[in-house]
Symmetry: C2
Subunit: 275 residues, 2 copies
Amino acid sequence: MLLVRKGHVMIAVKVGGGKNINWDGVCRDIATLLGEEQIVLVHGASVRRDEIASRLNVAVKMVVSPSGVSSVYTDQESLEVFLMVYAGLVNKEIVARMHRHGINAVGLSGVDGRLWQAKAKKEIMVKEGDKVKLLKGNLTGRVEAVNTELITLLLQNGYLPVISAPAISIENEIVNTDNDWAIAVMAESLGIKKLVSLFEAPGLLRDPDDEGSLIHHIDKSAIDEYLPFARKRMKKKVLGAKRAIEGGIESIYWGDGRIEHPVLHALQGCGTVIC
Amino acid sequence: MLLVRKGHVMIAVKVGGGKNINWDGVCRDIATLLGEEQIVLVHGASVRRDEIASRLNVAVKMVVSPSGVSSVYTDQESLEVFLMVYAGLVNKEIVARMHRHGINAVGLSGVDGRLWQAKAKKEIMVKEGDKVKLLKGNLTGRVEAVNTELITLLLQNGYLPVISAPAISIENEIVNTDNDWAIAVMAESLGIKKLVSLFEAPGLLRDPDDEGSLIHHIDKSAIDEYLPFARKRMKKKVLGAKRAIEGGIESIYWGDGRIEHPVLHALQGCGTVIC
């Protein structure tokens, strides 16, 4: 394996963009793990994005695909907000915090070095009530290839890559992209076997309103059966997990990003384990 | 020299944040130069920053030092705008544009990998009318050291580093910083001998309102004598140039960023040459 140092495994860690994520806890756990493992971090920033979009009077337009997956419709104005909040504000705040915990972090977007190469989807089908219609001028894409050399270069020189959307299209235009899908493709390209995903819940819940209804274990061959339990953003996590499994991931750990040791706790199997 | 490939020289290029900069021209010129030279690019984003700050109702507060140099006072709110526009929006737009011109660009802020390490100046002296007073809570710093290993790593692997403020303090807090000073320190650390700086004027003008009053040549030992011709932002460029000369830069080319070949034209000595 290109990337694995002797005795080292590689873990991809995704942290959602919720406002109650315990980032100092994430940093401490990563600092602990870096002694033994190599880590690639991907982060969201949805709450800050919504807040800045609202202050700028840019509408965050949610659309629903014919199969019922909701996502953000991205026009030029919302792509600019996305760039500002994900690749600028939140990415650099995480990088600085990592450094305060002694971690040599470098922040990158999917645009840098064509890290996340996406196929643009300029037209998307969306469901509006009972109707399905074609929406044009969409600036999103699905990640299909990854610049593994750039990530390898940073890892081998002791840097922690801190990565966020957007991605870059084949035509070198900036496109918004789904982080959960992108991390799955990246994990496959890098031969990563473990994926941790943290958000503001203990894991996948049978009842999204009841944190006591945690699903502890999902057999990776049966992931499709759990799609009905996933609402809103969780749907994308399930689809991302499916893509990751198809790409060779051996185990996925969904865990609570709000607790004292978010990463370690998830890796101990205390959230939802898919294996 | 650590960084110079056989037969290659290194050039630091700074491009200001004006709205009429011909970025496609800058990209084309850099693509031409990359055959022969290694380049490190630093960019501003002041016009977009002012525009976004205004839309967010964040006041851009200008302060004047006792010696008459004006700069932006940075509190938490304005630092966030700075991060969004410099490290997010503008940096990534430049990186994507470079890729459209076939240049393998990677965008970094001074925070990433502690690229630009600054000494924080939490308190600054400012002139208000005839009075000088102490202003606290300032989030700026002056770059004193550079992570040359990270830049070298990218250059040696064929990437163009596209860098912008902010910087990171010794205490690993994000601090706003002066790009012109930072590029001078970076040039010294990397042993760079040539510095190009582009903005929205043909060079330094005797009369800032008359583009025909271009100063063609400045002897580097006499740079102090030209400070009186520099108004507003140009003052910082003169001070940055002075710092660059003290650090071993052999020639500085100030040129017009609005023309067809901004970088090549400046390097041909058609703007203001300091040597």
